[in-house]
Each structure stands twice: as C-alpha cells, then as structure tokens.
C-alpha cells in the first residue's frame, strides 16, 4: 500500500477516471492553470490537456447547470466547487435540474454528474465559507451524497461516484486534504452506500462521517485508556444511499449510541439517524440516543472559539461519557 494524502488520493481517482473514460471531464474555477484552489487537480492539465481540464468563470449556476445539461447527453462532468459553500448560488441547478429531471421525464433521462469540493468549518473563514450542506442535499431524492473521511475512502468512493449514473454530491474537507493514509496500489472501487467500522468496541456506538471520524477516533482512545469505555465507530462514508444495516448491527452490539456530525443540529443527518435507530432498534437501546453537532449558530470566525463550535475530541469525550452514564 502507498501512503497518500487525501488530496493526492482524490487526484489519483480523477486521473484514473479521466484515463478510464474519455467522456470524463473536470471543470471548475481554477482547476486547470492554477492547479486547483486547494491543489487537488495539480498536474492534471499537463497530463490531460485543456479539453479535459477546464477553468470556468465564477458562475456556479451557469457551469453546474451546463454540466447537468452535458451529462444528459452522456458526458460525465466532474464539477469542482471551490467550496461547497457556494452551492447556494447553484442550488436551483442542483435540485431542480440534477435531482428532478429523471423523475419529471418519467425515467427517460439520467444525469451522471459529480459535483465535488470541500465542505467544512474549522479554517476560520467565517459563516459564508463554512457550510456543510450534506443534510440539505440528501433531502432531495434523485441525488446521492458522499462524505469521505480518509484518503483510501476518498479515492475509492470518488471513482465509484464518477462511474455512477445518478448525480453524486461529493463533499471533501480542506483540513483533511493534507491527512495521510494508506491507499491500495491496485484499483479499488468502494461502492457508495457501504459504511465502514473504523474501530470496533462494545460499550458505545459512535455513528459519524467526515472529519468527525478522526476526532471520534482520538476521543475513543482516551475513553478506552482513561475511562475503560470501549467505543465502536461507524463511519457512514455515504449519506445517501445510507448503509443503515451496519449502524443497526453496531447498535445491537453496544446498545448505546452517540451521533457525531459537523452539522447544525436542526433537521440534520443525525436527526434522521436518531429517528431511524429508535424506530428500528428501540428495544436494543439501553438509554436515549445522544447527539453531538456543531453549536447551533452561523460559523464563528474567532479561531479558538470556532474549534469549540465544531465537534472536537474533547466535546466528543464529554458527550460519550454522558451517553454511557
């Protein structure tokens, strides 16, 4: 296995898929000459040329919509949003066109488009640049939502997303771009909709995804060493489709649940999970389902305080102790 950063893993997935299918094209602001605002696409222009790696103007509605239209005719566009936060100006194209056009055409059309970019807080860029819209996106039947936490997952899931015939929203993380992880040397396609147990344990299930997986792993070590609590961590990896079987299996094993998400709590991914767990595993629960989310306010700028607004190992530790009390 090679050790790659999350950024390199995504780049490798793009490169492999650009090679694999000539209809794959990467479009977005600064993806070509500038090598990507976060350097994800570094080297791709040189390797694939300007027909495949395309710099767009700052027109998210225009270019996302253009990608959706092109996908209806069989192109497989990968659209980079410099930040997922900018989805708001392209939202009509995402939900009314990408998500709905198959349905409204009675199944005659499909849109094999991927929209990808970072969606996270924690970098002190304030409320406009820190949105985590996975719940908002997953609320729309017709689209799929992926939030990888590790380099290996990012690569394997992005490859599957690009080959998927439905529109896939792929949410990365600027803080994870530099995180290293082992990635298999041979080609790996990780199917969407398969959760991954990132740590096994017996006393508490933490259901989480994205960067919160890493925080949860840190907290779980402390819980093990200092509090004798054995934590199992289920990384959803994909929000929609959702691998709820893996969640259920873990709940049946530990009987206690904490959901951790870098999300505002109201009508979040965690709200949905909590509903489903109580509905399908009520008798398995030894206590109420607990939840740890971003503190419910627009993202604060103040660097030390933003850390406290988001899930972090200390907050998770506290929440986990409450969940097993």
């Amino acid at each position: 296995m090679a050790v790659l950063t999350y950024r390199e893993a995504i780049r490798a997935a793009l490169s492999e898929e650009l090679t694999h299918d000539e209809n794959v094209v990467l479009l977005g602001e600064e993806v070509a000459n500038f090598h990507g605002a976060y350097k994800v696409s570094e080297g791709l222009l040189e390797k694939f040329g300007p027909k495949r790696i395309v710099d767009t103007p700052i027109s998210e509605a225009g270019f996302v919509g253009m990608g959706v239209g092109a996908s209806m005719l069989g192109i497989r566009p990968v659209m980079e949003l410099m930040f997922w936060s900018f989805y708001s100006v392209a939202f009509d194209q995402i939900l009314n066109n990408a998500a709905n056009v198959r349905y409204m055409s009675g199944g005659l059309i499909n849109c094999p488009i991927v929209i990808r970019g970072p969606a996270n807080g924690g970098t002190n860029v304030g409320a406009t640049h820190s949105h985590t819209p996975e719940n908002v996106l997953a609320n729309h039947p017709g689209i799929k939502v992926v939030v990888p936490a590790t380099a290996r997952d990012a690569k394997g899931l992005l490859k599957s997303a690009i080959r998927d015939n439905d529109p896939v929203m792929f949410l990365e993380n600027t803080i994870l771009y530099g995180e290293k992880g082992e990635v298999p040397d041979t080609e790996e396609l990780i199917p969407l909709g398969v959760a991954d147990v990132k740590r096994t344990g017996t006393d508490l299930t933490i259901v989480t995804y994205g960067r919160s997986v890493l925080h949860s792993l840190v907290a779980a070590d402390i819980l093990e060493k200092e509090h004798d609590v054995s934590v199992e961590i289920v990384d959803l990896r994909t929000i929609r489709p959702l691998d709820f079987d893996t969640v259920l299996a873990s709940v049946k094993k530990t009987h206690r649940v904490l959901i951790v998400e870098e999300q505002k709590p109201f009508a979040s991914v965690g709200s949905q999970l909590a509903y489903m767990i109580q509905r399908e595993a009520f008798d398995e629960l030894d206590g109420p389902i607990h939840r740890l989310a971003t503190i419910d306010a627009p993202a604060i700028y103040s660097p030390p305080v933003e850390t406290e607004q988001l899930p972090n190992p200390q907050r998770i530790l506290k929440a986990a102790l409450a969940a097993v009390a």
């Binding site: 225009g62 194209q93 009675g106």
Partner: protein, 367 residues
C-alpha cells in the same frame, strides 16, 4: 406594440406580410416542396387544436395545476424545430406543448400527461410544464424561469466535446432574460464558442408585466453584444421569417460553433396560465388586433393560398383532422389509468430503476 413604450397598436387592415416579404425567397424557404409547406402549416394547426382541446379539458377539471398555452406563438416552435438535423437539440421552458409537438411527440402521450395518466410522456410525473423526449432530442419542459438555459448550454457543450456538428436551441421567454443564470450561460457560450442559439420568444409579457416594466436597455437580444455574441430580432408571426433567420444562425452554430441570441417577436392570446386574469395588463382590443392582423396560422395560410399551395378544401381537411386528432388524444387520456402509489418512487434514481446493474448498496429511500 404592447411591449414597447407606447401601448397603442399600429392599425393595419391586412394580415401583416410586408415586414417579411423577402423571407419567403430565402433558400431555406424557397427550396421547400409543396408537401413540406403543407406539413409546416399542418403542424401549427395541430398544435392549436390540441391546445384548444386541452383548454376544454382543463375547464372540465380533467387537468390539474397550470396550463400555459402557446396559442398565438406556433410559428416560433414549428419554424425553429423544422430546421433540426439529427444532431440538433431543443430545450425550453414551461410553455412547452408547441415545441413538443414541433419535434414530433405523440399527442396521445402529451394529452395523457396533462391528465396525469401513466400513459403520459412522463408517466404522469411531469405534467404540462415538464414534457421530455430525449429520443427526439427534446430535453424539456422546465418550470423554473431561465433555469433551462444553462442546461441548453450544456447540450451544446456536449455536442462540441463529442465533435458533432449539431446545435442546441435554448428557448426562453422575455421575462427569463433577467435571470442571472441566463447571463452566466451567455458568458459561457460566448467564452467557449458553444453551438447554442438562445431563442427569446418575446410575447410582450412575463405574466402581467410588460417588457418596458421589466427589462432595462434598448432590446433583449441586444444584450448579446455585451458578450460579443451575434444577435438578431425577428418577426415571429411569419414562419418563413422565423426559418430564414434561424437557418442562418443554426448554420453558424453547426459549422463555426458560434452562439447567438435571437429574439423572436410573438404574442400569446390566452392568459399566462389559463386560470390567470387576462385584462388587468392588456386590453381585449390589443389581443383582437393581434388575432386579426398577425395570427401565425392565418399569415401562413394566406401566403400558401397566394402561392397556390393551399386550397379551401385542404385547409378544411387539415383542420378537421387536427380536431379529430385532439379529440382522439383526449379520449385516450380519459381512458388511460392513473399511475399508482407504487409508481411514486420509480424513476427517481437510475440505480433503483436498474437493480440488476446497481453498484451502490444501502437505502436510497426513507420514510
């Protein structure tokens, strides 16, 4: 005209022909054989009769929601779509019945869609505003004003990417030109020389708001200049003129990958949607004046009579057949079953519709 600063209409005693005398001599029209001309005429009549029949069905409460009729604008869709080659594509807004029929969609499936029946072109899932026929290069039918314009630009992008010598026609209304997404699409098309023609069907009003009350600047198509794009305006009541103008820009798009904005003047006779009030923003006289002097079917009929192509007998026959077709479509729609609640969650994901080819796992639907 109503859309300009003065609300008064220039009175003309005759059907308007002077503005477009030369267009009938344009090769794209002069080369038409008699039967082809008759087919153009027939298509316009069929659209009108279909829509009149659908209006009756709407008033009889057979159809839900909105019904945006195209009556009065038929020469635009028929003229433009009659020029389509195998790699040309069309996308439009919610006033989409005319374009759907112009590309050759079956009236039974169209009427059944209005009735919300499973035999409808979208299985009763789209309704009046959302007709689609990818096999006929027809990509809808879109309900969000201006939202289809980036998609149309994407069709052109795909054509160019694949090296196909086709063009996309992206239709919108005069109100849509003020949407940001439209301008983003204009810029992309001009920047990348995409083979797309943005067709602004200027019927004078967006709902009850006239052009002068909604759009700044000298003209709608002229905004193309800001992007260095070709543009033209065109008298859309005469199908010959529509064809002559569009032929020029379609060729530029197909052969030189040049985008353009073409503003086609036209007029709708009915309310914005049929349930909407119609006298608050325009007068009955104005509508009558258009009907009398600029009706696209009358204008073309007159020309074809003068050319010796149409006779009273053929006109009568075409009309009778168009009415019969519309009635048949309504009967078919009436007799067809509705979708069932089991159909609600079909056609959401390609993967759930093709379970044997599904690569993902996990739950796609929730309750």
């Amino acid at each position: 005209m109503s859309k300009k600063a003065s609300p008064t209409i220039e009175k003309k005693d005759d059907i308007a022909t002077s503005a477009c005398g030369a267009s009938s001599q344009a090769p794209v029209n002069a080369n038409l054989a008699k039967p082809e001309k008759i087919e153009l005429y027939r298509k316009m009549v069929r659209i009108r009769r279909f829509e009149e029949r659908s209006l009756r069905a709407y008033l009889a409460k057979k159809i839900g929601g909105f019904l945006h009729l195209y009556i009065g604008q038929e020469a635009v869709a028929v003229g433009c779509c009659s020029l389509m080659g195998k790699d040309d594509h069309v996308i439009t807004a919610y006033r989409d019945h005319g374009h759907a029929m112009a590309v050759g969609m079956d009236t039974k499936a169209l009427m059944a869609e209005l009735y919300g029946k499973i035999t409808g072109c979208s299985k009763g899932k789209g309704g009046s505003m959302h007709y689609f026929a990818p096999s006929l290069n027809y990509w809808g039918g879109h309900g969000i004003v201006g939202g289809q314009i980036p998609l149309g630009t994407g069709l052109a992008y795909a054509l160019k990417y694949k090296g196909l010598k086709g063009a996309a026609m992206a239709f919108m209304g005069d109100g849509a030109v003020n949407q940001g997404a439209v301008h983003e699409a204009y810029n992309l098309a001009a920047l990348w020389n995409l083979p797309v023609i943005f067709v602004v069907e200027n019927n004078g009003y967006s709902m009850g708001t006239s052009q002068e009350r909604s759009s700044a600047g000298p003209g709608l198509a002229q905004r193309a200049e800001a992007y260095g794009m070709n543009w033209a305006t065109c008298f859309g009541h005469d199908i010959y003129e529509v064809r002559a103008t569009m032929d020029k820009f379609l060729k530029l798009a197909r052969e030189e990958s040049k985008p353009a904005v073409v503003e086609i003047d036209t007029y709708r006779y009915r309310g914005h949607s049929v349930a909407d009030p119609d006298q608050t923003y325009r007068t009955r006289d104005e509508i009558e004046e258009y009907r009398r002097t600029k009706d696209p079917i009358q204008v073309f009929q007159q020309k074809l009579i003068e050319e010796g192509v149409l006779t009273d007998a053929i006109i009568e026959q075409i009309d009778t057949e168009a009415k019969a077709e519309a009635d048949l479509a309504a009967d078919f729609a009436e007799a067809s079953p509705y979708p069932t609640p089991d159909d609600i969650q079909k056609d959401v994901y390609w993967e759930s519709d093709n379970p044997d080819q599904r690569a993902s796992k996990g739950r796609l639907f929730f309750d």
